[in-house]
Symmetry: C2
Subunit: 148 residues, 2 copies
């Protein structure tokens, strides 16, 4: 299904969805965070068709989320850019939401952990400008200008 | 395009995408956070076709993200459940990522603010179990069991 493009939206959420809203994109980014760099490995881990993976990887490179380089041999390697690494907050938010609400039985895998102690991260917290912790009823969307 | 279903995935991110990965869903949730409750208002704000909106709202109710109720008059009102309100972390993460990386010119709207002082939220931070602030290179996905 072709979506309406949100690229010109003034809402940062809509623009983000325009870039990473395609399911596979965030799962490819998840694999890249796990250290996967090669086409064949992405394909094997995700069980995604070659033609779809080709399009998705090219798009992620065009959007500046992945970068390509050759590492010694012949094969291209895909690694996260700074822009791509910054998607960790979105992945953590989705992972914590899913873990809390979508696992009535069983446990999620993989778990997102601190590299240093291999313990799971703390839950994300919303904080005001001056550092107060906010609940999910304490925030609102303030329309400043433009349509959204 | 029909996606492969990730409902049985053991990865919490994949399961979350299965529920909210459809673009419209997160934008409908964004509107619900802005106080929109009526079908006609969702439609007007999002510029979405009636038939698509009908399907999306029904799915969000089935998934326990929105709930319906009548408020005085005849019209159904859609409001966020606790599970739906908990998506604020995902919205904040996407909003902050988009604001940082997808606005080379212009400014995002709406802004996510603290209701109390109407100032924008602080950037989300990743923290270890004992509260240390972590950078986006300090976390990893640890496979514990099951396939993902």
């Amino acid at each position: 299904m072709k979506h309406k493009s949100f690229a010109k939206e003034t809402c940062a959420i809509a623009r983000s969805l325009n870039v990473v809203g395609e399911w596979w994109n965030l799962l490819i980014v998840r694999e890249a965070f796990s250290g996967i760099t090669k086409f064949a490995d992405f394909q094997k881990r995700l069980g995604i068709a070659r033609n779809i993976l080709t399009v998705r990887l090219r798009q992620l490179v065009d959007d500046g989320i992945l970068q390509t380089g050759k590492n010694g041999g012949e094969r291209f390697e895909y690694t996260l850019t700074d822009k791509g690494r910054d998607l960790i907050y979105t992945l953590v938010a989705m992972s914590q939401w899913g873990s809390k609400w979508l696992f009535t039985s069983g446990k999620p895998s993989p778990r997102l952990v601190d590299k240093q102690d291999l313990l799971e991260l703390s839950s994300l917290q919303l904080r005001s400008r001056n550092g107060r912790i906010l609940g999910n009823n304490d925030v609102e969307f303030l329309k400043t200008h433009g349509k959204h």
